[in-house]
């Protein structure tokens, strides 16, 4: 094998833009991230080192990638209307994730709330026009956040299938032509003072499980009544800030609601597949980088005075690691393709049980394998495994949260069981 690009991906599914995106992002990563990433852990609070790299990735003086989802007529690249939207997302997640999964998360989560208004067939042109300048006309990185998780029930909010939003405590009350929002959100990516724009999943009727009472409302971070706490200090993922957000009588125009009764619940279910495919892309990127590092290590270090890779027992372990990377990448692109089939006659809607159940299952599998092989790779490196200079331990710390987020393993298992076994009460 010549290099890590030869890990399998279904070439016939790949976007015509794939090579170009990879080339641009790989250059950015090599110049802006790889030389500095070992210092990112200490930069978790201020982002003095991290912010310039984000600007070069997202802002117009650099790659300008934060505008990718917006339609061309609003200054974007039109990826939201592309037949390859999920596959491109996967490529971006992988390339940035190879350098730093936290950066990949932070920049791709900016797209996440915007998918509800920018991706066919649910483009909300009025809101798209409203927010396009914020993202398309700036040299700085601008972040958005999906202010989803609540303190009392964690990712219960994602369990729409069973709970229908009844556990949501953040409320939205229509007052004249404004929504008045009150509530507390905990831990969303790009909080801790980072995001300029939130989408806030909330309820118009506390305790209701009627999807018509579930609302997605856009809230600019500088709106009166929005308070953001500082970032949490975490085991890893320094480039992704997480904190608390409080909404206290926050008022936004009534048309800042994404779509309206019923459709908001549907597009909320639609963002789940985006998060799942993105998650798989992040860990695939990290796994590709693991392979690069591990290849060098097992070729230059010895056991029994033989290169590690030439010892049959160690070869058995590293062979399994590479095999898992290959399989996970195939599954990841298959997952992306499920998303891109959404508008095709042979596809399913991305809010459907089929797509959500299968993608939860794939994400669960891929992130489990990633946690396992990174742990194993650290052990291959032995006394060097925990050393930050070898970069694998950072990925090990970073990718653990990918396994845990979006409802964690258990919600993935439940959604898979519901779909594959037609469970009724889980």
């Amino acid at each position: 094998m010549k290099n890590f690009d030869e890990f399998s991906k279904p070439e016939e599914y790949i976007s015509p833009m794939d090579k170009h995106f990879r080339s641009v992002l790989r250059k950015w990563a090599a110049k802006e991230v790889m030389p500095f990433r070992r210092k990112y852990d200490e930069d978790w609070k201020t982002h003095h080192l991290i912010e310039p790299a984000f600007d070069k990735l997202m802002g117009n003086k650099g790659v300008g990638i934060q505008k990718a989802l917006f339609p061309p007529e609003l200054g974007g690249w039109g990826i939201g209307q592309s037949d390859y939207a999920f596959t491109v997302a996967c490529t971006l997640a992988e390339e940035v994730g190879r350098a730093d999964t936290a950066m990949a998360v932070a920049f791709m989560v900016t797209y996440w709330p915007l998918t509800t208004i920018l991706v066919d067939p649910h483009v909300n042109w009025r809101l798209a026009k409203e927010f396009a300048p914020m993202f398309c006309d700036t040299e700085k990185a601008v972040f958005a956040a999906n202010a989803m998780t609540e303190p009392q029930g964690g990712a219960d909010i994602e369990n729409m299938e069973i709970l229908g939003g009844k556990t949501v405590r953040t409320t939205a009350r229509l007052n004249g032509d404004e929504w008045v929002i009150n509530g507390h959100k905990l831990w969303p990516t790009n909080t801790g003072g980072v995001a300029k724009l939130f989408v806030v999943p909330c309820t118009t009727k506390l305790g209701s499980h009627d999807p018509n009472d579930f609302a997605l409302i856009f809230v600019p971070a500088d709106a009166k009544g929005v308070t953001q706490g500082g970032p949490y200090e975490k085991a890893g993922m320094a480039a992704d800030k997480n904190g608390d957000i409080w909404f206290e009588d926050v008022r936004v125009p009534s048309w800042y609601r994404a779509h309206g009764p019923g459709m908001d619940a549907q597009v909320f279910r639609e963002i789940i597949p985006w998060g799942l495919v993105g998650s798989m892309g992040f860990v695939c990127g990290a796994m590709l980088n693991l392979y690069e590092i591990l290849y060098d290590f097992v070729s230059t270090k010895t056991y029994n005075n033989q290169p590690l890779k030439e010892n049959d027992a160690i070869a058995g372990i590293i062979g399994r690691i590479a095999g898992d990377i290959d399989i996970c990448r195939i599954l990841t692109y298959e997952g992306a393709r499920m998303g891109d089939r959404r508008n095709k006659p042979y596809g399913y809607p991305i809010y459907s049980d089929e797509v959500v159940g299968k993608l939860r299952n794939l994400k669960d599998f891929v992130s489990d394998r990633a946690v396992d092989i990174f742990g194993k790779a650290m052990d291959i490196l032995g006394t060097y495994g925990a050393d930050r200079e070898y970069d694998i331990e950072k990925h090990w710390r970073d990718i653990k949260i990918i396994q845990l987020w979006m409802g964690g393993k258990q919600l993935c298992q439940m959604e898979a069981a519901r779909y594959f076994f037609n469970c009724k009460t889980l």
Partner: protein
């Protein structure tokens, strides 16, 4: 929780005598009072408090002298029969802070090679104990064989490269080795114990005072966990040591591994027990599906069961190994292939179990498990670091080779 940890994670209590139980109880009180009940303060002032709490443990309680003979002011826990008590101490320390546990485990491992019956080396003990086990906190560091570099054949210890050498020079020995990676405390150690090859390529251990000018330390490493132990690469540039500082009796390196597997196992089991406490509390205060207490959900309960199961079986395995070490007349000396191999199997299994327990529990705790605020992520990083260090090189492969040699009489591997 209406049961104590020892009622839940049972172990053969008869292996620990009443006097030892009192010392163990004292260490548990230290853990609860000094660290566990003050986790936030401990985290925020970690570097300073790590030293303060280590001093309380080692100097005030006196554990620095735990396995010294009585004539050196020690507790006289220098007999194999004390193995279950020693590992109990490490479990209690590991429950509070794995980094203090690892530093303690390494110190006891090194001194076990010097003081443990029937190999008590009185001369060496006389030379070292007053310096390294007196009224000042001293740190010991251990350098084991691990991996080599392509193009440089090295003497081997069961496949692992020995990258330090010891050769007679004058009336003593000279130690050499470049960029060696200790298990702990390379940046600050007062005394190194390094596995060396002698001029016939046979493995032995050398004790190297850290204040020798020919000991060159690299910069302090940033590692996944155990950072308070301040590790760094070390080079020995023809460091002269007295003749008595080299221990070359047959099987001494196996002894080192045997004790290290036991004692680091104790640290990780203790860490796992504290993780169990934390995840147990968590599961009683969080709800899922809009109202169920987390632990009452069957799927979450099965994850919680995995956590308990891994820690529970690890503790039993740990005391199984301690019992084997404690009865050389029944099982053979610590340096025997049998005891060494069993220690490798159990030591490796315990680390795997505990890291699995923590990984599983983190699945339930989600972002709280990942946040430093809840303190569990430190346990996760610390145990992973112990596991990788104990592997040495090539993940589980060297331990598998040790196991296969013992069970199948392999000759060529």
């Amino acid at each position: 929780m209406n049961k104590t940890l020892d009622e839940l994670f049972v172990y053969p209590k008869e292996l620990v005598d009443e006097e030892s139980k009192r010392v163990i109880h004292l260490v548990r009180q230290w853990a609860d009072k000094e660290i566990i009940s003050k986790r936030q303060e401990y985290r925020e002032n970690y570097e300073k408090l790590f030293i303060d709490k280590s001093k309380t443990l080692n100097l005030t309680i006196g554990l620095q002298r735990l396995i010294l003979p009585e004539e050196h002011g020690g507790f006289s826990w220098n007999k194999p029969a004390n193995a279950p008590s020693i590992v109990s101490i490490l479990t209690e320390i590991g429950r509070a802070d794995a980094a203090i546990g690892v530093v303690s485990a390494v110190k006891y491992t090194i001194f076990a090679a010097i003081t443990m019956a029937p190999n008590l080396d009185k001369a060496l003990c006389n030379a070292l104990a007053p310096v390294y086990c007196a009224e000042e906190l001293k740190t010991l560091s251990l350098i084991l064989p691990s991996m080599g570099n392509v193009g440089q054949n090295t003497p081997l210890f069961l496949g692992r490269s020995i990258r330090a050498t010891v050769e007679p020079e004058g009336d003593g020995y000279a130690v050499n080795g470049k960029d060696l990676r200790p298990i702990n405390s390379g940046a600050i150690a007062d005394l190194f114990c390094v596995v060396c090859a002698d001029k016939t390529d046979k493995p032995c251990i050398a004790l190297v005072p850290g204040d020798d000018v020919n000991v060159v330390r690299g910069r302090t490493l940033l590692e996944t966990g155990l950072n308070a132990s301040s590790n760094a690469d070390v080079s020995f540039n023809n460091v002269k040591i007295p003749k008595s500082y080299v221990i070359s009796r047959k099987g001494v390196v196996e002894e080192i591994y045997t004790w290290l597997n036991l004692l680091l196992g104790g640290v990780s089991v203790g860490t796992g027990m504290n993780f169990f406490e934390m995840v147990g509390d968590w599961s009683e205060t969080r709800t899922i599906k809009g109202g169920y207490m987390m632990k009452e959900n069957p799927l979450c309960a099965s994850v919680l069961a995995d956590v308990a199961d891994e820690v529970f079986t690890s503790r039993l395995l740990l005391y199984g190994l301690a019992q084997i070490i404690s009865k050389p007349n029944d099982w053979g000396q610590n340096c025997s292939q049998m005891v060494y191999s069993i220690s490798q199997i159990i030591g490796s299994k315990i680390q795997q179990n505990v890291i699995r327990a923590i990984n599983r529990g983190l699945e339930l705790m989600g972002s709280a498990g990942y946040s430093k605020e809840w303190h569990v992520e430190k346990h996760w990083r610390d145990v992973k670091t112990i596991q990788s260090y104990l592997c040495g090189v090539g993940a589980e492969a060297p331990v598998k080779m040790d196991t296969a040699r013992f069970f199948y009489d392999c000759k060529e591997i």
